[in-house]
Amino acid sequence: MVDFGGWELPQQYSSIRDEHIAVRTVAGLFDISHMGRFKVTGAGAFDFLQSLLTNDLSRIAEGRAQYNLMCNEEGGILDDLVVYWGDDGFFVVVNASNRERDLDWMRSHAPRAVDVEDRTFELALIALQGPKAEGLMPADGLDDLSYFGFRPAEVAGISALVSRPGYTGEDGFEIFVPADRVAKVWDTILESGAPHGVLPAGLGARDATRLEAALRLYGNDMDESVNPYEAGLGWTVRLDKGEFIGRDALARVKSGGPKRTLVGLKTAPGDIARHGAAVRSQDRQVGSVTSGTHSFFLGHPIALALVEVASLPVGETASVDVRGRQASAEVVQLPFYRGSARSAAGSAKS
């Protein structure tokens, strides 16, 4: 078990390799109950979220979810999150490590008529992710659920809210269910899925699959010192939607062009570039690795690095610190792998 934002989570249930391959070829079941979940309600909830977040909620409607960013006045990323537009308000899913800070930030900016409630501990959240996820869900009527759509459904006989985003690059579902009833849903999915190869999957497989899909991890690939354009998330910033926190700073970044950019690196087997490792181009340091792991699915290590803009175009050879020496790294197109996700909004547009 490892500590992840104050939650004890398994790195692996069986083996990271097996779990990773299961997610890519069949499906893996993740417990992501550590994610923070807030309910935002009140007459001004829509306007409040519009003024707080970078993406434009008017581009979606009730019954749909949207990937979004919360920035500070300087345009630095406070968190990346998903907003669900429900029939009785909005549901916001944030990173576990930022939950308390996000809650404080949101409450300190909320007008009196808007209520921000922490629902993290009432609802469990599990995710079935993989190319065969749809057929393996013990629920009816999900086949026409669209990417980033959500609706109520009976899963294993339990009333749940089911959505269709994901953090692996694969098709799949996230299931919100009362914490005291999640065990039945979890067990049913695993029991019925086991003959097909479904495995419970831990943080190791989650990190490897999200990295292959080039989905950013807050705290690794971005933080307050990184703006959305540098993180390759400019598509989530809608400068034309009206005022929001960070808008002026972000408009300046956009017109001047970002100074740094995230690139993908591929290294030889064994050369895993870890977070913080220096990245060089022709003996000059141009940035550092933000995330790196071994990809069992691709058969070689992969890494994301934040580097000076235009210093490392795709196809270039960089060098990166691995265990105190310089290892050769090829700059490759992102994402490293495009899975079965219906429209990989997070990876395809970045």
């Binding site: 190791g204 087997p269 050369d271």
Partner: protein, 124 residues
């Protein structure tokens, strides 16, 4: 296996005359997670007791390997280059790492299995 001895840094050894086989323990492999690569010395290299002789790279982290005894490397487990996962699946068998020929006395501070197990219980 009778006669397996353990170190505080989670290596194990077996001794046959002057020949010592070295590996990492089941506890160590479970803590490391899936091993993806090993950087190992060439045969003939002389190692002091406690000297770092290589690196085991898992998905989680790179960890140094330490020689539990002073000796000269006689054999390296070549299978690990293609199948580093043997460290996870069979740490006391096919996942052995190298064999040394003792150049000094066997240190006295090894633990037996029961003592080692006890020492890891507080860490897991």
């Amino acid at each position: 296996m009778a006669g397996r001895l353990y170190t505080k840094s989670h290596e194990w050894i077996t001794v046959e005359g002057k020949s010592v086989t070295v590996g990492i323990t089941d506890f160590a492999q479970s803590q490391l997670g899936d091993v993806v690569f090993l950087e190992l010395p060439t045969t003939g290299r002389k190692l002091d007791a406690g000297e770092s002789f290589g690196v085991v790279e898992s998905v989680k982290a790179a960890s140094d390997l330490y020689s539990p005894v002073a000796g000269r490397v006689t054999t390296v487990n070549e299978q690990l280059a293609a199948k580093p996962e043997l460290i996870n699946s069979d740490p006391y068998g096919e996942g052995w790492i190298l064999k040394l020929e003792l150049t000094g006395d066997l240190p006295k501070d090894f633990m037996d299995e029961a003592t080692y197990k006890k020492s890891t219980e507080s860490q897991s």
